[in-house]
Amino acid sequence: MDLPLIIMQLLSGIALGAVLVITALGLTIVFGMLGVVNFAHGALFMIGAYAGLYLASLTGSFWWGLLLAPILIGAFGMLIEFVLIRRLYGRSIDDPLLLTFGLSYILVEGVRIVFGSDGIPFPTPPQLIGVLDLGIGFFPRYRLFVIVLVAVVLVALWMTLEKTRIGLIVRAGARDPTIMQVLGVDIGRVWLAIFGLGVGLAALGGVLAGPMRSVNPEMGSLVLAEAFVVTVIGGLGSIVGAVVAGLMVGISISMVALFAPEMATIVMFALMAVVLLIRPQGLFGVRGRTA
């Protein structure tokens, strides 16, 4: 096995991991703030892909779809928080999980009614069709774009959380919501925004994954399991953990696909089991709440 091939496969793994990072990030941010695990996250990823596809065909440009789908689906996520999840704060931690699980049934079946059960191809934007010569091999332009875009989104998110007033409120709210309320912050509005952000990230992941996978109503269920594995490995609630674990899982999948293709679907679960046996709270998780 020659080195260039391994490097190309590594890049593929990073592109795969980048989508996982964005998706898992949405899940982990919502958990860190609200203590809610959104079981409809995979379904919202799928809806994001459909919304991106629909908006792209409506406006004639992939870029409008990429921009508008996460915003629209994020707003839809805020509606979900406002109408449904909000009623469950203070009840058993299982209840939001169960509710969002039921919601995923409604969302998946709703998409089947509107768009049909068959998969729809998601065309790659014309500017990104083809491959780029990297000197050691050819790499699809679109995958390179995904890696760059995810990096930009991560930096922007990190800057917002660490350097702005809003980020300060969010970080403080994650640590102690009661004190934040005493200080005069309307924590309900922060939670609403964070839930919207989490869902928006799921939708962004869906649009980005669209041209790499086929778009169908069931695509969310696999993504949900993948996002769970990533957040469990990284540590639920940890942003750094989601990034590291997402890349780890993406790279392991594409590396194993190179040497033992039939093990590719299994490797991430094995990775998770090993991490759990050694560090039940995940690589960057805080002990107490979850393990």
Binding site: V37, F101, E109, A225, V232, A273
Partner: protein, 332 residues
């Protein structure tokens, strides 16, 4: 482990006459199930209620009584079915031996998954069980030479069953129902014994207050692992019943959608109640039966009804009913 002295208290605290009748829960449940084929529109539906009832009952031990929300019960339901089918079809094992072998192997699988997943708590546990059950799904998908892969497991049929020298035609739906009811009765007796035992009190103590149970000297981790295995064993028996009933095992049985369906059923019926799982399985399957007659998109209704139950009726149909007549509260 020291024996808890309060083991009997839970069972004995039902004061009313009605409560005393419900103490014979196994016999009562069997009596109701015996009438089921004549109450439901089709015998096939009744068999399904029986099978899913047993699966959900096993799951209820974990979720309802111990408070562990697993999203991976399909792994054991599926394992029971696959092991039964492989034992009969590939190795020519007679059905009465295949069932205990399958349950034993599935319990082993539950031990493996349990060792990893019971190390985690709360929401983590739900996510980890889901992921590990998906692992089982992909293994079954890849090991196509054993499991038939995507096409499911075929090539084994149980058409005749000899019971105490009596030949029973297993293709007749009524015969089939009552043979399978024997399995269900056995599972119910076993579950009732667990709940009435000191161990049953320990798992309920863990649900009510894990730290306090630990402070009382109980080995919480080991109890969780044991209850995980018992729950898997009972649910896998439902899988054996399904294999005997269908003579095929569809791959979908292992998918997490099946785990989700089990969760829905236990919530619709009522977690923490003995007969709730059967009520839940029956309501879910009847709903599916009725709604799918006039729309292929029945899942949207199931999802909506489930959301409404989580919001407004978290104790489920049977649990709310027991509360209404005052039995449920007295038993808690």
């Amino acid at each position: 482990m020291t024996r808890p002295s309060s083991g009997e208290v839970l069972a004995k605290s039902a004061p009313s006459g009605l409560g005393r009748i419900l103490d014979h829960r196994v016999l009562l449940s069997i009596a109701v199930l015996a009438l089921l084929p004549w109450l439901l529109p089709s015998k096939a539906l009744a068999v399904n209620v029986l099978i899913y009832g047993v699966v959900v009952m096993g799951y209820n031990l974990l979720f309802g009584y111990t408070g562990l929300l697993s999203f991976g019960q399909a792994a054991f339901f599926g394992a029971g079915a696959y092991f039964t089918g492989i034992a009969i079809g590939r190795y020519g094992v007679p059905w009465f031996a295949a069932v205990p072998i399958a349950v034993l192997l599935s319990t082993g699988l539950a031990a493996l998954i349990g060792v990893v997943s019971t190390r985690t708590r709360g929401i983590y546990f739900s996510m980890v069980t889901l992921a590990l059950a998906q692992l089982v799904y992909y293994v079954a998908l890849q090991a196509a030479s054993f499991t038939g892969g995507e096409n499911g497991l075929r090539g084994f049929t149980v058409d005749r069953i000899s019971l105490f020298g009596l030949q029973v035609n297993f293709l007749d739906p009524v015969n089939k129902y009552y043979v399978l009811m024997g399995f269900a009765g056995l599972a119910m007796w076993f579950q009732s014994r667990i709940l009435n035992s000191p161990f049953g009190a320990v798992i309920e103590a863990i649900r009510e207050n894990e730290q306090r149970a630990r402070a009382c000297g109980y080995d919480v981790e080991r109890s969780k692992l044991v209850v995980f295995m018992l729950s898997g064993a009972i649910s896998s028996l439902g899988g054996c019943m399904l294999a005997l009933h269908l003579s095929i095992v569809p791959l979908d049985i292992l998918h997490y959608q099946t785990s989700g369906m089990i969760v829905m059923m236990v919530l619709l019926g009522g977690a923490r109640s003995f007969f709730g799982p059967f009520v839940g399985a029956a309501s879910f399957l009847i709903l599916e039966d009725v709604v799918s007659l006039w729309t292929p998109h029945w899942q949207i209704f199931v999802g909506a009804i489930f959301v409404l139950f989580v919001l407004f009726l978290p104790k489920g149909i049977w649990g709310t009913l027991l509360d209404a007549i005052g039995v449920g509260k007295a038993r808690q």
